[in-house]
């Protein structure tokens, strides 16, 4: 409540300030999230709901992303001003000549995992050899392929849709999964954790930072405040979401229902809690800051695997948002 009160004070003050400075109208900003509405973007919903964007003088529109509307494309073609992308995706875009800039790194750690049913006999990464493994197409393929390369796994890769049913019905022997999403979905079809073998790719030298907020270089150059204000307000939204998780989950579910998506509290709460686990920044870094070492490791791995030809300069690539106002 205290935070609410102070927030409203801040809101009032900023309103006064904008009136005083005579700023005419809020700046429009279109945001393309990574995926369909879910708690993976709870911070954005909270920031929007609590008026953090408005306080920053932003009028934010959240695009309906999803498998058919990849955010990378939305950002590239200018539909979106800011997009939520994986670091690997951003590096690939940049390598392909789309200069995107990281204005906030949200997930510091990788949540990607490979899950198999113990009953299939898979106990170690090497057991995946010769098996059918479900993978997500596109830029989500980078890490799994690096993983398979690392363990010299020669298996059949089966591109997945948006469900884990192919895995559940034994259409594949193993599948990639997000810790915060599909892994829990599998558990909530009645599968016990003990019935699964699960590898976190981060435990196999592939701890690539995932979700980050990106905008195009030209946008940043034209209006540096736009992206960075958005990034700071989003980070504030996340802080608030973790402080009031029940409200954040309820808000997320509202967004999901509006998008005609099935949802339940248990899954969204799991996701929010995992986001908090993944978002905890390392020592000496402010929220939203990308660790240089993580950047280097990810970029070098991509370069070594041939995904990108060159590694961009860190300073050019990452513009930390700084403290939220």
């Amino acid at each position: 409540m205290r935070s609410l009160a102070s927030l409203s004070v801040i809101a009032a003050l900023s309103l006064l300030a904008s009136t005083a400075t005579g700023e005419p109208r809020p700046r429009r900003l279109v945001f393309a999230p990574h995926w369909l509405p879910q708690a993976q973007f709870a911070g954005t919903y909270v920031a929007l709901e609590r008026g953090f964007y408005a306080d920053a003088g932003l009028e934010v529109t959240i695009l309906p992303s999803g498998p058919d509307h990849p955010p990378s494309r939305l950002l590239a073609d200018g539909t979106a001003d800011v997009a939520s992308l994986w670091l690997t995706t951003a590096l690939q875009m940049r390598d392909r000549g789309i200069p995107v800039v990281n204005v906030a790194q949200l997930l510091e750690r990788s949540s990607l995992m490979v899950v198999a049913k113990r009953a299939s006999g898979i106990r170690a990464p090497a057991d995946l050899h010769g098996r059918r493994v479900g993978v997500w197409d596109g830029d989500l393929l980078v890490q799994p392929l690096a993983f398979f390369q690392r363990y010299e796994i020669d298996g059949e890769l089966v591109p997945l849709g948006s469900t884990i049913n192919l895995f559940l019905r034994d259409g594949v022997d193993a599948t990639v999964a997000m810790w915060f999403n599909e892994y829990h979905t599998i558990l909530n079809t009645g599968v016990e954790p003990g019935e699964l073998t699960a590898f976190f790719l981060r435990d196999h030298g592939l701890d690539f930072p995932e979700d980050g907020l990106y905008c195009r270089e030209e946008t940043l150059a034209r209006d540096p405040g736009l992206c960075l204000d958005f990034a700071r307000a989003t980070l504030a939204g996340w802080r608030e979401a973790f402080a009031e998780p029940d409200e954040a989950v309820a808000l997320t579910m509202r967004h999901m229902l509006e998008a005609h998506l099935g949802t339940n509290r248990a899954h969204q709460r799991w996701m929010l809690d995992r986001m908090q686990d993944l978002m905890r920044p390392g020592k000496g870094r402010a929220p939203g800051e990308l660790a240089h070492a993580d950047f280097e490791r990810t970029a070098r791995t991509l370069q070594e695997s041939g995904w990108i030809s060159s590694v961009p300069r860190f300073e050019t690539f990452h513009h930390p948002p700084g403290r939220a106002p």
Binding site: D68, D137, L160, G161, N165, L166, R169, T189, T263, R265
Partner: protein
Amino acid sequence: MRRRGIALQLGVLILGGSAVVLALIVAYNYTTARRIIVRQAEENAGNLVANTVGRVETVLRAAEKVPEGLAQVLAESSYPEAQLLEVLGKTVERNREVYGLTVAYEPYGARADAEYFAPYYYKSDGKLRFKFLGGESYRYFFMDWYQIPRHTGRSIWTEPYFDEGGGQVVMSTYAVPFYRTVEGQPRFAGVIAANVSLDWLETITSSMQLLSSGYAFLVSHNGMIVTHPDARLVMNESIFSLAETRRDAGLRALGRAMVQGETGMARTECLDGSDTCWLAFAPMPANGWAVAAMLPESEVMADVVALNRTMVLIGGVGSLLLVLVVVGALRSLSRPIWALAQASEEIARGNFDAAVPRVDSPREVAQLADAFAGMQRELKRYIRDLEESSAARERATEEAARLALERQALQRELDIAAGIQQSILPRTFPPFPERTDLDVFAAMIPAREVGGDFYDFFLVDRRRLGFVVGDVSGKGVPAAIFMALSRTLLKATALHGLPPGECLSRVNRLLCRENGSEMFVTVFYGILDAENGILEYANAGHPAPLLLRRSGEVERLPRTGGIALGALEGAEYLARRSRVQQGDTVFVFSDGVTESMTTDGRFFGEERLESALARFAGAPAAEMVEGVVAAVREFAGAQPPHDDLAVLAVRSAQPRQRSSTEEISARTRCSSATPSSPGRRSIGSPM
């Protein structure tokens, strides 16, 4: 101080007891009824679930036939496109269950230039419509309905989904892979998918009425809730997400059983969390889903609870009535007891006339009241007696003094009687001083003041001396009086000069006639003829006298065999004769002599008597009597005599003159009436 009354105590006991009994009955009733009802509910829910499964399966199996048939056809022959579309359209039109139908080919499988080829007929607003599926925005190769049959080679029912175009209709697709033979090998060619609207599922499950709030619902292969009265749960929550939100491991376990195709029944929290529910479930083999039924326990148990409530009410009211009756009864019972208690307090304060309440019933209390009244009467009498007793004590003291005086007087009179008794025995010795031929001496020592033994002697005529020793049965005054009577009768009879036997017979008759006291007397009566020494004698049960010869020889006078006088009326007594020489002595004694006893219980006996007597052979009669008496006394020592003792000795001596006999006779008669000095013991003078 307040003590609880019996009515209250018993009331509490009865109420407590009946409460326990009631609780037991209700508990038993509840568990039994619950068991029965749960069994019934299980049966009902099981039937309902099975029924639902049957109905749903019928529809699903019907829908399955469409793509399966088509898959067979497509496997056998390659349809021209136009013909395929016609078949598809007609099939959709004809099959009510099928909402839409497509044959989706592998990339470039149908047309060499088309990555996506999936003609799709579907119903919309009651009309048959057509479109091609597939494209950048609908990459069907990655859809479950396509991918799963493709990669598993099996026909599947997909997880339910909302139809994107058709509003909020839940659909499931039955997808069948079809193959084409290429180079002799079957090669995967595509998937035939029939979209089946599941709105009828909702209709079926909602028509499954279970009591008033029980319901059936469907759970998908993944545990997703497909139909449920609460629409918010449908396609949002799964049985597992609900279990997680509630942290209900039991529900999760039930969910696993459901999705793993088990049939079961369990108690769990209702899905809305409001109550405990019975959950019955069974699998739907066609698509691996499960039908479940939820029965709120409160509703299942409603009848039992209502029954129990009624029982408790009846039992409670009954117990209360029982207590009221008992308390009332005990009040009326304890009222008289209380009144008695008050009366007893009143009496304790000294009011002995306090009114004792009259009680007629119950019997026990009435008895108590009677006993109490009796006690009061006794108490009053006792107090009265107590008051009188002091006066009585005074009177008793006076009486005792008077009795003492009387006893003194009596003693005096006894002393006089003893004197008289002694005095009636002839006590002057020698009795016939002028008769030298007869030496007579006698002694009688009574055991008590007056005795029953006696002796007597008298001259029957000038020549003959009659002598008697008797022993009356018993002692004391009655014996003394009987003795006096017997002696008088005997003497009076003897003086007629009758021979001894006849004399005793006559005296016996007289005694028997007069004898009212049942007493008898042993008597020895002898008549010694001083001139010729003839001793004639008769004996009525007396110890045989001894004859001490001058030589010192002791003989026993032969027995005559008569019984004691006064014992048998009409008894006859024989007489015997014996000759007494000069110097011989006839020694007559009562059993007091021979039966005289020492302290250690030895009798004096006849032998001791004979030897004592023998020492006095030739000695004067007096010397002999006194010697024997002294010997007896010496023998008995400190032992007081227990019997009277009478001894008489008659010695035949040298006659001097004949004339003197008559004088003796006269003097003897006189002497018997002469009183001698009174004394407790008397023995012939000169003692």
